[in-house]
Subunit: 676 residues, 2 copies
């Protein structure tokens, strides 16, 4: 093979890898799939419109950015994505993460302007411009993180976001969403707090009397009635959609109907002027040229952008995998990361906010017959038409309607509270992770809360391995099966042998417990016996010394005898581990060297000769099958175990030692450590 | 038994527990032990004197507090301690931890006073008074933490400080000590920085020209010469002590000799006035009445006090255990924590700073014949006499001599750099822990550095379990031993069965890798085969539909047939996992329910009937012996494994499943999960 075709081959395979549509589009079965994709694309596009407007509100941005975010990334995903049913675009959790940032870094109060000298009002235009600029930076940064993680094949970071963690997190996020929307439902305005505990500040003092963009400081009855009617009708129709889903060609687009009807009423009755109902306001027509994001915000938002990148990806990939499993295709998790990253990165230049996938839209896309990413393109074209032609018609849409749409969409999230009872029955530790994540996210807000939750999730692994179950194994008669003698009546200890097993691996945080449990379970007081032996040896030595002195006195004329040379050798054999010289001034954590050679010297007196009781067993076998790695602390303690048991004339063996090189021993069968 | 004797009995056992001297003192073998204890006590007391003065300097406190710290806690330990050879008292690492606090919270610059209008000098008296007050608070708080941890039996927290971590930490601490003492060696004075990266600020600009307590802004040659002579002579004599240790009745007290000689010279020549050599200054005679610590500092120092409590205890207990092992007695780790805590708590009322144990003094205490805590009492009495009678004589002792003593004592710590090569050979992960701890402690200072290191140490456990070794096991002929077929030539796969094993436990962070590795190691492309099967089934279904249509057309007059009822049942049997209804709007992480019952319906077409290749094996056995706990994520993925292999007509079994209740299965032998 010459290098040039090889080169071109690898280039094309790279092209196929990073642009998956090159692979599947030529094989697209137009006859079978196109109709389904078009129907599905329209259904999803119709959902995108109200959701985009609503989630922009959630992110604290002008509504048109929600439309942009429903167009650019959705269109781009067609080229890069590998999931055929995911509906990418604005998502509640991500939007509220962005919203908490915009409100903390650029609160409305910063844009107060004195009009006519007396009443200060917020310069909304300036505020929105600045916020769009900030969010564009976050979005680009999120995209960069996702692309980098994808290129480095670091998609596995989401494994740290375990199921209970993600569910606890999204539930807490939806509480944040709910509270942030209450002001729109009640038509009041409030100071936008952020940072830890901000949630409670908001919920304790909802109707604060501060200068605001909305002119009524107290509940606006018109707004409240509007939103309640909207919520109830959307809820009912969604329930009907759900019930008669099989019989309808596509779900009734109740959200779209609601915004159209309410916009019509709002325009006709002039709700804004007459009842002070807050409306979305001006929606500019047409697309904007790309703008390079403002680099100066990078430092402020880098942590949040990383959190958004990880959470957004985690939601997409888990959703994508469910559909892939159902329809028997594969999603490439690293390519998905790159696809999302490119959607965000490029979107950031066009005033989009960060996107993820929406479960509700994806389910519609699948159930209305969507077969491929073509459905996404159709949906994005629906939004494009809206942006160019009909978006401006929605200027009189009351914000309360959007809040109602957001809140109704939270229903599924709040159902996750049911996890509490499920997890209580199945796994208490995972329940703890759920609860801690929920509380941490509620109290510490969405960024720090996520970090704290991940740290706690990892700590549970430590806790779980730190207090394992220790057991003495016995053999089940006539088999090779060894089981815990306490749990299995059939299991009988092998005479003269103690087989010891821990349910977890051994490492620095639990190895001392391991040694203690072994000594306890062995049934004899090992330390006491060693102490007694040492005392007996000391006595013996003293007696010998006395004897020698007497001899020396009587045999003084005979000169130096061999007797004096016996003593130092006894000294070496007291079995005491000598402190290594190098530890002379250290902090007291020196590794104790085991001088095994000296101990087996034939001159050492036995327990029997010292008149001490002998243990009832002659060997200890440590079952190492759950041991997956070994650190230096474990080695040190293991050496101590070997030394202590040798002291009381018991041999220690290691069985089922993994031989992958983490441990020193490579023998396939039970092999005594440190024996040679 | 009447309640009152029971009560008195438990009271006395509590007394014995918390005041261990009640137990051992009555049995004290005066004849055998007293002489050794007195000799050892004097030797240690003589070491306490220079070390106490030096470590007070290190802690940024007036020298007399070092004497107090060498008296009160040492005396109190007699009543509470269980280690017979530990020499409690000031320790370099703890002193430098305190020193970094005094210098950051109360820098000398805060006490500048204008004298005669022109030259600003530091009001040392006020500074020292304030610093003593601050440190007393830290010490009391440290004591409270230690007593609480001891009462709650939380001595195990030190297991998180693994050997490599403690050694890396103390090495970094000794670098901090060295740098902090350079100013005394060179006789320059410098701004006292603190906080992250402070180390480099200090070492890059040592001779800063700032107003200072010492009157010379540049290197003082007299001071430098003094300290070099002192260092060399101490080093040489220590080497001799070490070499001829066996032949000397007690080590030459070179540190004491040095301070006496240098004080004499300093007084005679009047070094302070003539050469501007900095001296320790006034040492008040006699003891001071106790002072209640200032509570207002609690908030500022609570984190540092906790770090000091943990580090101090970690050093004491590891040292105590080494001696206990050597001499065959037991130290009670929780009682040690309480003992240290009470020493610190009570000491804090008497101007002491926090103490720990010193390796160098403890080794002297042991080697000079010390047998019990009585040696400590003797040593403390030596210091008491010094405080009351002769302390004031040391007012002319040059600080440079104390710096020399501190630096020489660091020798043993710096030897810990040898760990790098030892760990490189034995354990790379532990090496990483050492290096990360060292660098973190150097860069982030002693408190944050410790927290970061502990977090990193725990993370290594995650890393180690996250990328385990996966293997297919084979049987070694004529035995019951199963080994990795790749590593053992003797091991042969059992025909028709794949036995799969991971070297580590399964949990959320590695279970997806587990499933992937299983599919890969099984030798067939499971996902591809399932995809093919689904396609074939779809085709079959379509054919059936067509067939039915034709039939329907021909048999339209015959009415509804049973045929229509066949189709939905086929629909259910395509093996696709249905999305649970409750996941309707959730974040896409719903647990997939496995409807096992439907799948085994007899109507399902087999791979053979669909014309697809069959896998070469009919069963997969998962060896669960390294599995120590199971979380919900693992259960979900395990269910997927069962479903996928069922799909391709392979049965999955679990072997060696631990039966302690963490897992659902309790059968002792291989048991199929989810089969019933």
């Amino acid at each position: 093979m010459s290098p040039s075709p090889l080169h071109s081959c690898s280039t094309s395979s790279l092209l196929f890898r990073f642009l998956p549509f090159l692979r599947w589009l030529p094989r697209y079965p137009i006859k079978d799939w196109l109709l389904g994709d078009i129907v599905s694309g329209f259904s999803v596009g119709i959902m995108h419109l109200p959701q985009g407007l609503a989630y922009a509100l959630l992110a604290g941005l002008p509504p048109v950015t929600g439309l942009y975010s429903s167009f650019y990334p959705v269109f781009l995903y067609f080229f890069f994505g590998t999931s055929r049913h995911n509906s990418v675009g604005p998502f509640a959790v991500i939007s509220v993460m962005i919203g908490s940032l915009t409100e903390s870094l650029m609160p409305s109060e910063d844009f107060l302007e004195s009009v006519n000298g007396s009443n200060a009002t917020v310069n909304e235009e300036l505020r929105d411009t600045r916020r769009v600029e900030l969010v564009a930076t976050i979005t680009v940064l999120t995209g960069i993180f996702q692309v980098l993680l994808g290129l480095l094949q670091f998609g596995f970071v989401v494994t740290y976001l375990s199921d209970p963690l993600v569910r606890g997190y999204t539930t807490a996020a939806s509480v944040h969403v709910l509270i942030s929307q209450l002001k729109n439902v009640f038509g009041v305005s409030q100071s936008e707090h952020s940072g830890p505990l901000s949630l409670f500040v908001v919920s304790i003092y909802p109707p604060e009397h501060i200068p605001s963009s909305c002119k009524l400081p107290d509940t606006n009855v018109g707004t409240l009635v509007t939103s309640i009617i909207a919520m109830v009708s959307i809820l009912i129709v969604k329930e009907l959609n759900h019930k008669f889903g099989a019989k309808l060609p596509m779900p009734i687009p109740i959200e779209l109907i609601t915004i159209i009807v309410s916009t019509g009423i709002s325009y006709g009755v002039n709700l804004k002027e007459k009842f002070g109902v807050s409306v979305v306001g001006n929606i500019p027509s047409g697309l904007k040229p790309p703008v390079v994001p403002n680099m100066s915000y990078f430092g402020q938002v880098v942590g949040n952008a990383f959190a958004i990148a990880v959470v957004g990806y985690a939601i997409c990939i888990s959703l994508g995998k469910i559909f892939a499993l159902k329809h028997g295709y594969k999603v490439d998790s690293n390519q998905e990361l790159i696809a999302l990253g490119l959607c965000n990165f490029l979107g950031g230049f066009f005033q989009c906010f960060a996107i993820s996938c929406s479960m509700s839209r994806s389910l519609v896309q699948e159930s209305t017959g969507g077969n491929s990413q073509v459905a996404g393109v159709i949906a994005s074209l629906v939004i494009l038409v809206t942006i160019v032609k009909i978006g401006e018609l929605f200027r009189d849409l009351p914000k309360a309607i959007l809040a109602a749409i957001i809140i109704v969409n939270l229903k599924g999230m709040f159902k996750q509270f049911k996890d509490l009872s499920t997890l209580w029955k199945s796994n208490k530790v995972d329940l703890l992770v759920w609860v801690v994540t929920f509380i941490a996210t509620l109290l510490l807000n969405l960024d720090i809360g996520l970090a704290a939750s991940v740290a706690f999730g990892l700590l549970t692994v430590i806790f779980r391995t730190q207090l394992p179950h220790y057991s003495i194994l016995g053999r089940i008669s006539d088999t090779d099966v060894y089981r815990d003698v306490v749990e299995y009546e059939m299991a009988q200890e092998v005479p003269g042998v103690k087989i010891f097993r821990s349910s977890s691996t051994i490492y620095f945080a639990n190895v001392e417990l391991y040694a203690e449990a072994l000594k306890k379970k062995s049934g004899i007081d090992v330390d006491r016996l060693i102490e007694k032996k040492k005392k007996a040896l000391k006595k013996l030595k003293k007696q010998q010394k006395k004897l020698e002195k007497e001899k020396h006195l009587t045999e003084v004329s005979l000169g130096d005898t061999a007797m004096t040379r016996v003593l130092p050798s006894l000294d070496n054999n007291t079995g005491s581990p000598s402190l290594p010289q190098s530890a002379g001034d250290g902090p007291g954590v020196a590794v104790i060297e085991l001088s095994a050679g000296e101990r087996s010297a034939p001159s050492e007196p036995t327990l029997r000769s010292l008149g001490l009781p002998q243990p009832s067993f002659s060997a200890v076998i440590l079952d190492f099958s759950p041991v997956s790695f070994v650190d230096t602390v474990s080695i040190k303690i293991l050496k101590n175990i070997f030394r202590d048991f040798r002291e009381i004339e018991v041999d220690v063996f290691i069985a089922s030692c993994p031989g992958e090189g983490d441990l020193q021993s490579h023998e396939p069968r039970a092999s005594p450590l440190a024996h040679s």
